[in-house]
Amino acid sequence: MHIDPPPSDTPPPIPRAPLALRALLRVLPLTSMSWSLTAYSRRLANRHPGLFRRLGQHDQARFILDPTDLPIVLRLHPNRGVPNMAMLRKADDYDVAIRGPLAALLGLVHGAYDGDALFFSRDLVVEGDTAAALALRNAVDDAELDLTEELAQITGPLAGPLRQFSALVERRTGVCLHRSEEAGLW
């Protein structure tokens, strides 16, 4: 039987979330965080209508986004373009869970990583409705989001410092916090 040789290149490891962030998330109030995330996601929905339109029949699915190196999970309910988000201690009441290191999830959103590649290498794990996960992945990939920039747009005079801080964190931790020009980290 024909066996192919193993791949010769080793990709750079995916960075883990910094300890400080983990500590911070243990004490942040979940309710107000959920409220802010919902407001933030609705803003994204308004600015990128194609994002939720692309979900098609999956726009009522409940997605768990689980950064496995953080003590919280996020639950996203696209709700036909009027999304709700919740920050939870553990996943419950969902159709599909997408789990992976925070850096992998953010890198996916920002076009630094390829979803299939992360999945094949098991850096990303999908549990539940695989089709819904695929739809979300494809919709996010098309939206060309930049989460730092989206945040900067609503922080008024703090936008400048925010961008600087984000760039600093990115350099220090290797976690991708803004849209990359399809440069690829692998």
Partner: protein
């Protein structure tokens, strides 16, 4: 003449990424059952297609629209409209597989360039010339069952341009001649534009071992540190006699990068990259690598070495049928 790189785009963002990364040509499809990558969240509506083609043309790239499933009896109008809309949107060619649809293209849009999809699995010079005589097909995408010498022999006997896959997911069966997927799930590449569809996939993780099921059939079981398998039927692990193995094909993907010089001397016009379901970052990376490779070839330089294993399914690649021992 430099070999043409033909790149996949599952979304408008991927199309832009491919064009910016140096794709000579991009192929894509409408967001419905008319194309063979009818996956959730993917593909183009009519406006996106028009804008995508305009974007590509503005930067000197071409766009091919794949309408390469087999129209459903009684609903042919959906496929006919797709051809008309692709033409209206400015497509440089449509990629078709169904003879009825080819006849429609020939009769109704005589000035529209027709490419024969890999889904037609035209695997020898006789049939390729027949498609050219019968329907005016200008280019054929060769099935992945052929070796390089066979491709060379075909090119010696036909004037039709040939396009071959060089990277991405590999069909082990003759394309368009497989109904494994509809047997297990009810949906197939020919009829629905999907193979082993995600709606029928289930994963079960128990104690680090991962089971991947399709339509209730367990076709993969991997240990904790092994790459995760997508349960594509022909790449599953099965049992026959005393053996448990990937009986049809290992979960590998095609990488014929090092064969580009041979493919060029075999008379191949265009190199095709599979992966409309992949991200814009994947598309950009792969395009950049292949563009560098054909540019190097054109300049008489050696092929750049080693790339992209991590992008591949299962992390492993093969030269597939291009090397005869594959069979």
């Amino acid at each position: 003449m430099v070999m043409e790189i033909v790149c996949p785009a599952g979304t408008p963002a991927a199309l832009r990424a491919a064009v910016k990364a140096g794709a000579h040509t991009v192929y894509c499809g409408f967001a419905d059952e008319t194309n063979a990558r009818n996956f959730p969240g993917l593909n183009f509506d009519r406006d996106e297609m028009r804008e995508g083609i305009a974007f590509a043309h503005h930067r000197g790239s071409k766009v091919l629209v794949a309408i390469n499933t087999y129209p459903r009896a009684g609903d042919e109008a959906i496929w006919h409209n797709a051809i008309t809309d692709a033409k209206t949107a400015g497509a440089d060619a449509v990629i078709l597989a169904d003879p009825g649809l080819l006849a429609y293209g020939r009769d109704r849009h005589p000035d529209l360039r027709l490419h024969l999809s890999v889904q037609a699995a035209a695997a020898n010079a006789d049939i390729i010339n027949f498609y050219a005589d019968e329907f005016g097909v200008k280019r054929v995408v060769l099935p992945r069952v052929l070796s390089v010498p066979e491709i060379k022999a075909i090119n010696a006997e036909t004037k039709v341009e040939t396009e071959v896959f060089v990277f991405g997911g590999l069909c082990v069966m003759a394309e368009g001649r497989c109904s494994l997927s509809s047997y297990a799930t009810g949906e197939s590449p020919n009829m629905n534009g999907v193979c082993s569809p995600a709606e029928h996939v289930q994963y079960h993780e128990t104690g680090g071992a991962l089971d991947a099921k399709l339509g209730g059939y367990t076709i993969h079981r991997v240990g904790k540190n092994e790459p995760a398998p997508y349960p594509t039927l022909c790449k599953g692990r099965f049992k026959a006699q005393e053996l448990t193995a990937h009986l049809f094909e290992n979960p590998v993907s095609l990488n014929a990068e090092q064969l580009i010089p041979q493919l060029a001397s075999a008379g191949v016009t265009a190199l095709k990259i599979e992966g409309r379901q992949r991200s814009r970052s994947y598309v950009a990376q792969v395009v950049r690598n292949f563009r560098a490779a054909v540019d190097a070839l054109e300049a008489g330089q050696p092929m750049p070495k080693g790339m992209m294993a991590r992008l591949s399914e299962g992390g492993a690649t093969t030269a597939g049928a291009y090397k005869k021992t594959w069979r």
